[in-house]
Point group: D2
Chain length 181, copies 4
């Protein structure tokens, strides 16, 4: 059975989006990329900075409220439905809750063939890239670097501090081509 | 029964996205906005300029290929699933196929309470706004202004050449508040 | 003598940038557009939210500090030099200090043939457009709508609440073609 | 005498902008960053894809026409004037003409204390990053990687294939602090 979904999980500025774009460029079939950034962009502006939605503190911390969680659950259900309807989907995610976040996705993805990829990047390197980007709240990279992987189980892991995004994408593509289990 | 989805259909530069943002700002509950732009952004870069995906001709014409249509069908199914899972969704769409495009959505949205809104804007005005934006292929606004509405049935229509986006949003919000049938 | 610079002054969300893009599209010669947004983008990220640089308060108010003023003076001198070196330049500005801001520009532009254009837009309309854009701090449009014009002298004025950006651009283009004095 | 300008020269996707943002973050004084991207953004949309302006070919090649060259000369004069007026300026440039491009800048910068930095990045690595970005014409990175450095003289060189942007910025910052010659 062909893989229907690739979930990339990693902290802010760990390089997930770059890997996703490379996967889209090198995989033979068309893949959609959706992620937490797409969802935040779909949300009302007001929810992006409120206790009910998602708050980005000055120190890089993130808090999500009840309305965010409700929309997030519906979002996950919708992304799963896209895959069931035949779209190949790369999910670009930040499991702020570690294993609990993965559990939310696992429940929604029943029956789909999913490859789980951990996107590692040492906190100091991710923080340096956060500075180079200049478009993220400083501190997010460092504070998320480890916590998003706690208790999460992966089919494979890549490390963007040690390899370019394109190389990481090739590792994932070979894993897919080789049959996953 | 509360409205679960608002579909805004109109040509390029007719002002749909502005209305969507205003609706998100004035409606009491949080609404997600998703649309053809979100989907194109989720697609591989290569599909955005190929015969298999979507091509934007120099004169503003658009051609979509078989791979685009397949992803689009899965996309629609996913957006419908988000609404069924409890998210309120504003769909920001361009029915290039007129009634046939609406039919594709209608089939996917069975059982959902949807308000269909025609976003009108005279071709000349939309073309002028296209020039003022500077980020769209010139000619799209004029060529889509009428064709996207052919045979499409609406619950209500607004005209951004005659009213600001926020006023149009208030018209839609009052329609929702008044009970739609 | 041909006009070398067009200064568009108006509050946030009054439609200056749209007029500038339309002018670039309809004027026979190539014009550069530079403005306060270009300058803020050129600044360090840290200066964009500090008392020494520029602060955007939650209510739409703006405060600029000494380092911002120093960079701004050098910026104005540079833009004037571009025009003296032969580039036609559209300046897209917000005279937060009204007449005093114009005075800063006037001193730097000695010897250049400049057309000063007031871009009016009733506060309520600008505020509605600010909501439709969704990418500006709410309140800026209303708080700047009148104050930026206080004591400023113009060669002509346009009103984007009454005419599309492209029409306003045509009014300005005809003024240029007609000879300005 | 304190350094007034830092010129970063390198091919597309070599990492100049990331270094510039890091420099702005770590240098004690505020620095403006301006570059070829700022200038292209200031140009009329029509000039960005015409023989008179700048053309990006499908293979990553770039051609610039007479109107582009005229605006570019005025742009350089203006950036020099900003530095003379007291702004510290980081220039983020692509010397498509190698030594000849540097010569154009040298003539305009007479009397200013400038640090010239070569930003190296092996073509294959830059091309991989171009794929990961997804927002540049494919092929530019590879075709520019070597040619932009031909005959150009530098005060120091950094290599983003071997060090993170932030590390490169620290190398440059130490050079500035140490006195430049």
């Amino acid at each position: 059975m062909a893989v229907q979904m690739i979930v990339l999980n990693g902290g802010s500025s760990s390089g997930k989006s770059g890997i996703a774009r490379c996967l889209q460029a090198i995989l033979p079939e068309p893949w959609l990329t959706l992620g937490v950034d797409s969802m935040i962009e779909a949300m009302p502006v007001a929810l992006r900075s409120s206790g009910a939605g998602i708050e980005f503190a000055a120190d890089g911390g993130i808090t999500v409220g009840p309305e965010f969680m409700a929309l997030d659950a519906a979002w996950i259900a919708g992304v799963a439905a896209m895959a069931r309807a035949g779209a190949r989907v790369i999910v670009d995610e930040v499991f702020l809750g570690g294993a609990a976040s993965q559990e939310r996705w696992l429940k929604a993805l029943g029956g789909l063939d999913v490859v789980w990829v951990g996107v590692r990047c040492e906190g100091a390197v991710a923080a340096a890239r956060e500075t180079a980007r200049g478009d993220r709240v400083a501190g997010m990279a460092m504070s998320q670097a480890e916590v998003v992987h706690q208790g999460v189980r992966y089919d494979l892991e890549v490390d963007t501090a040690k390899a370019e995004a394109l190389e990481c994408a090739h590792v994932i593509a070979r894993f897919l081509a080789g049959g996953r289990r």
